[in-house]
Subunit: 434 residues, 2 copies
Amino acid sequence: MGTPPLWYTYPAMVFSVNERYALWLDEQDEMAHYRQRFVIEDPELIYLDGNSLGRLPKATRARLQQVVDDGWGRRLIRSWNEGWIEAAARVGGKIAGLIGARPDEVIVADSTSVNLFKLALAAVQSQSSRHKIVTDNLNFPSDLYILQGVCKSAGRGCHLHIVESDDGIHGPVEQLADAMDDDTALVALSHTLFKSGYSYDMATVTELAHRAGAMILWDLSHSAGSIPVALNAANADLAVGCSYKYLNGGPGSPAFLYVRRDRQEKLGNPISGWMGQAEPFAFGLDYESAPGLRRFLTGTPSILGLSAIEPGVDMLLQAGMEQVRAKSMRQSEYMISLWQELLQPLGFTLNSPREAARRGSHVSLGHDDGYRIARALIEEMNVLPDFRRPDNIRFGIAPLYNSFAEIHAAVTRLHTVVAEQLYEKYGPDSLPVT
Amino acid sequence: MGTPPLWYTYPAMVFSVNERYALWLDEQDEMAHYRQRFVIEDPELIYLDGNSLGRLPKATRARLQQVVDDGWGRRLIRSWNEGWIEAAARVGGKIAGLIGARPDEVIVADSTSVNLFKLALAAVQSQSSRHKIVTDNLNFPSDLYILQGVCKSAGRGCHLHIVESDDGIHGPVEQLADAMDDDTALVALSHTLFKSGYSYDMATVTELAHRAGAMILWDLSHSAGSIPVALNAANADLAVGCSYKYLNGGPGSPAFLYVRRDRQEKLGNPISGWMGQAEPFAFGLDYESAPGLRRFLTGTPSILGLSAIEPGVDMLLQAGMEQVRAKSMRQSEYMISLWQELLQPLGFTLNSPREAARRGSHVSLGHDDGYRIARALIEEMNVLPDFRRPDNIRFGIAPLYNSFAEIHAAVTRLHTVVAEQLYEKYGPDSLPVT
């Protein structure tokens, strides 16, 4: 590993690893100007963790100041009648435009986990003759934990069937199909997997679930804002997702949920709070579901959180998900070509699907010393990816603000960290790398 | 109603209705300087709705700017390892100091309704031989809705027993005692009632529940920050509460929950998400409860929400709940004496307990035209209370920023609204007055 190969020392020799090629790609990029709409305090930092916490849009900073100073500080309680009470539905309606749903099918509420609990339990409770929830072992663990809790609360022998992927990278579509039967109430999957970035063919898997008579629930946390989602076209029943990744909604920002229009009146919210009540300000003693999607609200919505989501969503709507996806694919393909040239020879594996169509917007690279390498990349090289056990360094690509030059620099610095063994002073995995 | 009585026209004639008396009370008030620590954009506005949405502390505005610009904008994902991940427990530990609990017994999470669902369902699930939840008809309706949902999810014949108050003002302690039996799993009550402001004797009612072998859960939404609460001294099992009222945490800010130390390991969180997992960043496939209170977290906490809570809590800790309570009692007593002189003759009823010891920090005044009067008070007089059906105008007193002069002005303007029939142009109750 000691000496870098010749083509690294003289990058001009190989076309794709030449930095000037990256700069040329950036010059051709019609979306490059969006980067200026984000707060970039440290221009030297190469931030490739937008799949975990998206950058701060400048408009969001201004929006938060306005809602705090004017909404809370000046108008006080009156602001609830001046837009706040409709904010969950309004922002949800905009998110609908990013995920192929109708505006009245998406609402912002709670966290992804709480929303998953609400919808999954509602789905199971509505089908008393079916007892099984089907998922896969590549789903985000929190989703598995919540589904375990849903089964416990549902009782009646409800159980979770976790199908296993062959290679830990690709979603196990065939095994899922085998597991779906007439005892299956719900199929619950992450649309884009958090480790490998594999993205399911939503229409195909939804069709499989429906053929078995089951409902399907998609977790869109790694898809919303990074890949066009077509919930209506796939006829998907339910979905949840988070807003702090590619939607750039801020740390712990509220999540969203989707219920297909014809399912809304047939499902009840098990966490039946006043915001989902037909007449919340009538203060009647008996719960009565609000018509439509609003029933899936529970408590008072976070107004700071809601306000912080909207500008990021507006920007994505303006940019267009097809354009975002096109750049994302160009960028991840470019990164993989650099991996092939520079990193594969150093022992890095590609832990994401090679085929672009089945890949979301992050690239996972595996290495036995992955954790220590990620630490060194952060501390020594000012490149910020994240790490997921056992060996995945995840590079999130956010087309609205990441450049090709950043991807080039990240890969060449990663090469340096390993070629020059800069990671050796870092201890093994202990601290959480979020 | 046409002509005001003589003592209103010449207020100097009656001691308590003389504005100079209010000014004198403010001069004597050692807590008056706290008002300057809040954003007061419109000094003419008399804001008496801190029981619904507390005012914005100046320190909170600065704190939010810091967390947005520096935490999110500059440090990005690294901020999770630089304080964010501990914020829910840290802020919870501070709130514990306001409600008579140990720091490791309180944590910030989700909304009040979601927390109530988690704790109430956990309590019921832990006592399979008991089937009843006891509450009263003066509880906040959302709590009743949630408890109805808890019974549905718990199954096994779990049902809600709603005890009725005789007068709609006082908590029905005797009827509650009668309803608590060996089939009662949980007694769930608002400590301070949202309409009348009646505040239960926590020690007495907790003891009643324990004598029946039941657990008790207190909703502290209208108590936290307004009245000293002694959860440990009362040996209370469980509690929840909101932070946007007297804690001044901002619109829809996250809620808190309390679990007595010796109960923590015995209760499981039914909404079992990754933040409550023993090792959230190990990403194991099976849920294992975190030790202690952290198990009651579910999804990723709202960092903007958490940041907005802390400065308001710090201010209350500095002021001291005993001092806050002493001023609150002086102020509500003063308001009631003004009601007696000026408003009772105009047909207003006192819909709050007359005895100060059993009254929280808001005063409810009833009037057949309450809704229209409240509208007129807001639109014509720049006084902001809120309204709760059928006839309650609620005046929230927040001792940190409300002055005696404000209370005096509110009552005299209320008198004018009725005496001069200024409310007649407003239509009946239709719009929600939040």
